[in-house]
C-alpha cells in the first residue's frame, strides 16, 4: 500500500528542473512560481485580447481600439476596471450560490493549466510526468463552470447554451485527446518538457534532418487545432454563445466582474490551447527545426541555457502562441458560425475517425522505425 503510494507520488513529481527552483527551501520557489503563473495568466490573455481586437478590427476595415493607452493597448485593462465598477446583478430566480461560483469554476482550471506549460528552457512552474494528461484534464473542467452558469441563470437561453457547451465538450474532447495521444506515442512521454525535447531530437528515419511533430502529424495538428477551437467555443464553433440565437449564451445574465471572469477564461483558454499546440506540434521554444538556441548546451540546444537563451526561448514561444491566436482570430473573422447539428456531425463523422486513423498510423510507424 505504502509502496504504491510512493510510486504514484514519484510519477507525478516534477521531472526537469525549473529555473524557479532556487535555494533549498520550499516557500520561496513556490511563491516565485505562483507569481510567475499569475503574471502569465493575467498578462498573456490581455496581449492575446489586444491582438484579437486589433487584427479583427483591421480585417473588418476598422482600426480597433485607439484611445486607451498607446495604440489602444490598454483597452482591456480599461475594460477590466469598468467591469469591476459595474453593478453585480443576480436574477431573482437564479440559483444564487451556483450562479455566483460558476465563473470561478470556469476560471480556476484555465489558470491551473498554466502550471505545466513550458515557456522556455526551464521556464515553467512544474514539469509533471503526466503533464499532457493534467493539462487536458484541467481544460475540460472549465466546461463545468459554463454548465453551472447556464443552469443557474434561470434563463432559457443560458440553459440551452450550457447544454450546447456540454454536448460540444463531449464531442470534441475525443478528437482532441486522440490527437494528443498520437503525439505522446511518438514522443514516448506525457511530460510537456519531454515532448519538446523529443521534437528537438526527432530525426527523419535514415537521415539527419530534424523535424517538429507538425510535419509527420499534420493531420493530427489540424484535428487538434480544430478541436481546440471547439473546446474554447471560439467562432466558428461558438454555439454556446451564439449571440444571434441565444442573446449571449451562458453569459446572458452575468454582469460586472463575473462576466469579466468568463471573458478572461476565454482569452486564457486561447493562450493555453495555443501554448499546448506549440508544445505538442511546433517544437516549443525552438526557433526552427534543428537550430539550437544561443547559449544552450544540452538536449539538442534546448537546455542548460544562458540568460540570453532563456529570454530568446521565452520570446520564441510567446511569438508562436500569438501566431496561433492570430489564426484563431482569422478564423473568427472569416467563417460563419456552424449549426449545432453540423458541429456534432463534424466531430463524430469526420474528426474522430480521422484522429483514430492518425493514431493508428503513428503507432504503427513508431513500432516499425
Amino acid at each position: 500500500m505504502m509502496e504504491s503510494a510512493s510510486v504514484t507520488a514519484e510519477v507525478i513529481v516534477a521531472q526537469a528542473v525549473s529555473i524557479f527552483d532556487v535555494g533549498d527551501g520550499f516557500v520561496l520557489p513556490v511563491l516565485i512560481k505562483l507569481v510567475f503563473v499569475l503574471a502569465l495568466f493575467f498578462v498573456l490573455p490581455l496581449v492575446g485580447g489586444y491582438l484579437e481586437h486589433k487584427a479583427m478590427g483591421r480585417m473588418q476595415a476598422r482600426r480597433g481600439p485607439v484611445e486607451a493607452g498607446p495604440f489602444g493597448s490598454l483597452q482591456l485593462v480599461a475594460d477590466g476596471i469598468k467591469f469591476i465598477q459595474k453593478e453585480d446583478l443576480i436574477p431573482r430566480a437564479a440559483d444564487k450560490w451556483v450562479f455566483a461560483i460558476a465563473p470561478g469554476v470556469a476560471l480556476v482550471p484555465a489558470m491551473l493549466i498554466f502550471l505545466v506549460l513550458p515557456f522556455g528552457p526551464g521556464v515553467f512552474a512544474l514539469d509533471l510526468e503526466l503533464g499532457l494528461f493534467y493539462a487536458l484534464a484541467a481544460s475540460s473542467v472549465s466546461v463545468l463552470g459554463v454548465l453551472m452558469g447556464g443552469w443557474a441563470s434561470a434563463n432559457k437561453f443560458s440553459l440551452i447554451a450550457g447544454l450546447r457547451a456540454g454536448a460540444q465538450l463531449i464531442a470534441y474532447e475525443l478528437p482532441l485527446i486522440l490527437a494528443a495521444i498520437a503525439v505522446a506515442v511518438q514522443a514516448g512521454t506525457l511530460s510537456l518538457v519531454g515532448i519538446v525535447e523529443a521534437q528537438a531530437n526527432f530525426l527523419i528515419p535514415g537521415t539527419e534532418i530534424n523535424l517538429w511533430f507538425v510535419f509527420p502529424q499534420i493531420l493530427g495538428f489540424g484535428i487538434f487545432f480544430v478541436a481546440a477551437l471547439a473546446e474554447l467555443s471560439r467562432p466558428p464553433f461558438d454555439m454556446p454563445i451564439g449571440d444571434s440565437e441565444l442573446v449571449f449564451g451562458y453569459m446572458t445574465e452575468y454582469t460586472g466582474i463575473k462576466y469579466a471572469m468568463y471573458m478572461l477564461t476565454e482569452y486564457a483558454g486561447m493562450i493555453s490551447m495555443s501554448a499546448l499546440t506549440v508544445v505538442l506540434y511546433l517544437g516549443g521554444w525552438q526557433l526552427l527545426p534543428g537550430v539550437p538556441l544561443p547559449g544552450c548546451e544540452a538536449g539538442g540546444g534546448l537546455f542548460d541555457c544562458s540568460p540570453v537563451g532563456v529570454i530568446s526561448g521565452v520570446l520564441i514561444t510567446i511569438g508562436k502562441i500569438m501566431a496561433l491566436v492570430f489564426v484563431m482570430v482569422w478564423f473568427r473573422v472569416a467563417f460563419p458560425r456552424l449549426r449545432e447539428d453540423q458541429l456534432q456531425r463534424i466531430s463524430w463523422l469526420v474528426l474522430i475517425p480521422l484522429s483514430l486513423l492518425n493514431l493508428a498510423v503513428i503507432t504503427v510507424a513508431k513500432v516499425v522505425f
Partner: protein
Amino acid sequence: MAATSLPGTGLLKGLGVTIKHLFREPSTQMYPHERPDLAPRTRGVIALMDENCTVCMLCSRECPDWCIYIESHKETVPPAKEGGRARTRNVLDRFAIDFSLCMYCGICVEVCPFDALWWSPEFEYAEYSIDGLLHEMGRLREWMDTVPPPPQLDEGAELPAEVADAIGKVEQERELAAAKEAEAQQAAEAPAEGGGEKAAAGAAPKQAEIHVEAGQIDQETYDALIAEGKSERMARAKAKAAWVKKEKARLRAEQEAERGGAGGGDAAEQPAAAAGDAGDGDAADTGEAADAGAAPAKRRLSDVEVEGDGEIDQETYDALIAEGKSERIARSKAKAAWVKKKKQEQLDQEEGG
C-alpha cells in the same frame, strides 16, 4: 464550379479575403479628432427659420411623436390701404422640438408649406440629461446658419415660379428701356434718314409690353354669345377676354400711329399686323370671341359646333350593319358621321357666304 473544386477551397478563399483586408487602410474616420466626412445634406438636426413660420401647426400635427411644441398669439395688423380691413396675424411665441422624442423622420420638414423647417447637418448636441434635449426657438434658429444652400437645379429645369416672375419683370423693364432709347434715337435720326425699316424694326414692340387691366366686357361679344345660348358666366368671361384683346389691339394701333407720325415710316402696315397678332396671340384665349375680333383665319372642322339630337347617318349605319358590326357600334359611328357631315356643310356655307 462548386462540384468540381477541391473541398476546402471555399474556406481558403474566405481566409484570403479577410487577410487582404488586414493590410488595407481602414475606412475609420477618427471622429472626435477630426471632422467626419458627412454627406452634404446629412440629416443631423431640425433647424427653424422662425421668420417663415405662420403657426399653421401642420408640423406639430403631422409629427408622429408629437415632439413639436408651438405657442402663439394673434395680433391685429392695421389695414394696408386706406379704408381697408384690419387683418389678424399669428405671432410665434414658442417653437420647441424635443429631440429625446424625435425619431428624425423628417415629416415636419416635408410638410412645412413655408420652408420654416430645415434639415441641418449639425449633429453634436448630445446632453448629459434627457431634459436637455428639448430645444427652444433660439437654439433651433442658430442651427439655421448651418443649413447648406439649396442644391442647384438640374440643367434645363424650369425655374421656380417666383424666380421666373422676378426675372421676367427685370427683362420687361430692360426691353421697355431699350424701346424708349430706340425711340429717342429714331427721333434723332429721323430727319436725316427720313424713317425706314431700321426704325420700324427697332421699335416694334412686343405684345407683352402692352398691359391692359381686365375689367370691362366687350358688349358685342357678350350679346353674340348669349344669343348663341351660352351660359351667362361663360359669355361674360369670353367677352372680358375679347375686350382685353381689342383694347390691346387699339393701344398698339395708337402706338404705331404715334410712331408713324414721329418717324413717318410705314405706319399703314402696322394696324393690320397688330390686328393679326391679336387674333392668334394667346393660345388660351383662342375662341369664338377672339375670332370675332380679328381677321378670320382658315377655319377647321373642329372650330364648328354642331349639336345633334341623336340623328344618325343612315348611309353609314346601313354600310356598317352590312359589314356585320353590332348594332351599338354602327349607331355610334353613324352618329359621328352625321355630325361630321353637318359640320362640313356649315363650314362650306360660311366660306361660301
